[in-house]
């Protein structure tokens, strides 16, 4: 029998003609791991929220949802709290209390359990999730990955049968994201909890999934296993093709039966069908002129603190797209703050276009990680007018970042991706010569990443130097001119993108990992597809 059964569900938001969910029927068996995918604004979050009564948005609704054979409208708050767990996107916004142990016990306190039982259940969960070490910590001191893991644990203590996750890893770095998804998959396998998860990045989540459900414009357009999806991928809308794992993207055209999903399966497949075993280096020519030069920079936050940057030297060429990669706490953001002179180095020199930083009049603008921090006005238009009075200038930028139809909305009413674009417009209106971006691709859907790369390319044409901090290896490999790796406070390597990812073995794209030893110098999926195509022609 199905655990969740959705029958002809249709929903539209108030004052909105379009249907957010359009006649959806879906059934889910107990213990399944389902990935719900689609581009932002396709209705996947709305569908997910409808499964939990108290989070269901207001609006016009028809159709029925049954959970364990019971109509979800008739479920009591207690049943729903005990049976269905929900983890949201932003790790910070779900935390209620100040201490980790209190956060874990919060749900159980609400259920009114006895002190002993709460103690037992939290202790059990804390050891299952490996939280024991920071059980008595303050919640504000945790890292993003730890916060999200705690949010998951604080839902799991209530022993739910169904776990709903709404883009839980979009705000995390790749290592924490992978760790989080492993834990979710472990819960599914070991405890038999039904998991429904929405995701932008499908690379890590697809290998764990039993079923993938694709939504577009409020409708379900595909429902099947990930490897079945590979076969029909070419008929799917383009956003999906950008989002699926690299092996699927590469092989979808070539496989008749099951499409490889993991890198390991991809390698096996590639050995059989690849013909050519080398691709040429794409040499990207960068300008001789240097936009930013850092010489022997040292920095620490406190006099007796540890060095964040140690003797760091770096040259960023003019009119290039320069990516700075590195793990958490390697000093990337500190480096960015030194370039835009928010922080001044303890020792060493910063030169902007050959001039001393303090004398330089070059305009540097920064797009921060939290773009909400930029919006000051009631509408996007008014917000942009604060920087630039000339309306035609605003419209020009607005069309570049595709926000013409959003100008009259309140910035906080926009979705995450839209906010990112509006913030980018605001930063661009400052007409920077050097543009600094702090993890701009975090939370972007795969399709907009392409648009974003085009925006950067057109900026480069206008003579702007773009420096980006990123965890997004695939994006950097595809679009950046040069990449630098910051490790332990200094630059471990600075190369052209292709060379950089070709030399790395672990910290590289999945295409490079897949093609290692089979196709020389292949770094992006285009490189691999090139080799395959040539064979199929022969």
């Amino acid at each position: 029998m199905e655990q969740i059964k959705i029958e002809n569900l249709t929903f539209s938001y108030p004052l909105c003609d379009e249907k957010a969910i359009d006649n959806i029927s879906l059934s889910v068996k107990a213990g399944e791991f389902i990935v719900l995918c689609g581009k932002s604004g396709c209705g996947k979050t709305t569908l997910l929220k409808h499964l939990k009564k108290e989070l269901a948005p207001h609006g016009e609704k028809s159709g029925k949802i049954f959970i364990d054979g019971k109509n979800s409208d008739e479920m009591s708050l207690r049943e729903s709290a005990e049976k269905i767990g929900f983890v949201m996107q932003n790790p910070d916004l779900q935390i209620v209390t100040d201490k980790v142990w209190h956060e874990l016990s919060f749900g159980l306190e609400n259920l009114g359990l006895s002190n002993d039982e709460i103690g037992l259940r939290t202790a059990e969960m804390a050891s299952y999730f490996g939280i024991g070490q920071w059980y008595n910590q303050k919640t504000t001191l945790l890292s993003g990955g730890q916060k999200q893991l705690m949010n998951l644990a604080s839902v799991m203590v209530m022993h739910p049968d169904i776990l709903l996750l709404d883009e839980p890893t979009s705000q995390l770095d790749p290592v924490s994201a992978e760790n989080f998804l492993h834990t979710v998959s472990k819960i599914n396998r070991e405890l038999g909890v039904t998991v429904i998860i929405t995701e932008q990045r499908l690379e890590e989540v697809f290998p764990c999934a039993d079923r993938a459900v694709v939504m577009d414009e409020g409708k379900i357009i595909f429902d099947g296993t990930p490897s079945q999806m590979g076969k029909v991928l070419s008929d799917m809308p383009s956003f999906l093709r950008f989002a699926v794992p690299t092996p699927m993207r590469v092989f979808s055209k070539f496989c008749k039966e099951n499409c490889p999903v993991t890198v390991c399966e991809g390698r096996r497949f590639l050995r059989e069908i690849s013909h050519k075993n080398e691709v040429n280096f794409e040499e990207k020519n960068t300008s001789e002129n240097v936009a930013v030069e850092l010489k022997n920079i040292c920095f620490r936050y406190e006099k007796n603190g540890k060095d964040i940057l140690k003797n760091l030297s770096l040259k960023i060429p003019e009119k290039s797209f320069f990516a700075i990669l590195g793990g958490n706490g390697a000093g990337k953001t500190t480096l960015l703050k030194i370039i835009n002179s928010t922080l001044s180095p303890f020792s060493g020199k910063v030169k902007i276009f050959g001039e001393n930083q303090k004398k330089s009049k070059a305009k540097i603008s920064t797009l921060p990680q939290d773009v909400q921090a930029l919006f000051t006005a009631k509408t996007v238009m008014l917000d942009l007018k604060e920087i630039e009075k000339d309306e035609s200038e605003i419209l020009k930028i607005a069309s570049l970042v595709k926000i013409e139809n959003l100008l009259s909305k309140h910035p906080f009413d926009l979705s995450g991706g839209e906010q990112q674009r509006a913030a980018l417009a605001k930063v661009l209106l400052c007409k920077p010569q050097i543009l600094l971006l702090d993890e701009p691709t975090k939370g972007m859907d795969a399709e907009f990443k392409n648009d974003f790369a085009n925006i950067v390319a057109s900026l480069k044409n206008d003579g702007c130097t773009v420096v980006m901090i990123s965890h997004d290896v695939e994006f950097c490999a595809k679009y950046a001119d040069m990449c630098a790796m910051v490790f332990d406070g200094s630059v471990a390597a600075a190369e052209t993108a292709h060379k950089f990812f070709n030399e790395n073995r672990f910290y590289t794209t999945s295409a490079a990992r897949m093609a290692r030893g089979i196709i020389k110098n292949a770094v992006t999926d285009e490189n691999i597809i090139l080799c395959l195509n040539e064979k199929s022609f022969q």
């Binding site: 929900f86 002190n115 921060p368 400052c430």
Partner: protein, 315 residues
Amino acid sequence: MEAGFKGYHPVPNLIYFLSIVIFSLLFKHPLTLAVCFAASICYYIKLCGRQAVKNFFCVLLPMLVVVLLINGIFAHYGTTPIFTLPSGNKMTFEAIVYGFVLGLSAVTVMMWFFCYNEVVTADKFMFVFGKFLPAAALVFSMALRFVPLYKNRLYIIAEAQRGIGKDYKSGTLLERIKNGGKIMSILITWSLENAVEISDSMRARGYGLKGRKAYGKFKWSGKDFVAVFVIILIDILLIFGCIFKSVHCVYNPYIVINPKADFGKTYFVNQLNLTLNPTSFFGIITLIAFTVLCFLPLIIELKEDIKWNRLKSKI
């Protein structure tokens, strides 16, 4: 589990500090002052070590001197002038002594508060508080989370605005005020927006169900019962002591230590108008009880230290 009195349940912890602070403010007898001061500084040093010594000499001792001087110079009561100040005011023996008494009891109470901070952590306070007012305790806990969160967010906003040239640190005063105001306005909008999500997260975990209970990770044990029993017993003795004024002193218009008695011998120091009455039997009991109360945490610590040493020597 933490060692010593820190490892006790929040209830004895709180009752203890409540009693010690109240009684050290009530008793103004030189003996109680001395005992209380000695106990508080010993316990403070035991808990905080070097930091305590530094704090005592840099902050508390100067404070004592200031209180003493201010009371001596500006108070007009007392009957025994020692010398006349240039302003014409007479500095009296009583004012100086009472200034010392005030200063010493202020310093002592402050040291008890420092000890309180070490022993009664926010978790412990919340536990007791949550038993009586669960809803208020939750609000308190949320506030403790939001303060650092918003502080950090303010910093993020200021930095982001600076990154697009809207600096609150440079430009004309008017521009700076304008930019500063904008930073606050973003903080408020952003935080209100987020409040919706937090309330969703709370409801999703069943907040609003009837019968919510506050969870505390502290377990009641035998030693806690003994501690509460001892503290309350002493408290009762001391309350009687207060009511019957068995350790009473008067500092104005002249100093009388201990109440007038029909027994024993009374000493007078005529030059200073000082009267020293003998201590009554009940007065002695009160003093002993107060001494035990003051040194209770140290006794507990000492007992555990001895136990440890004995265990160690067995190994």
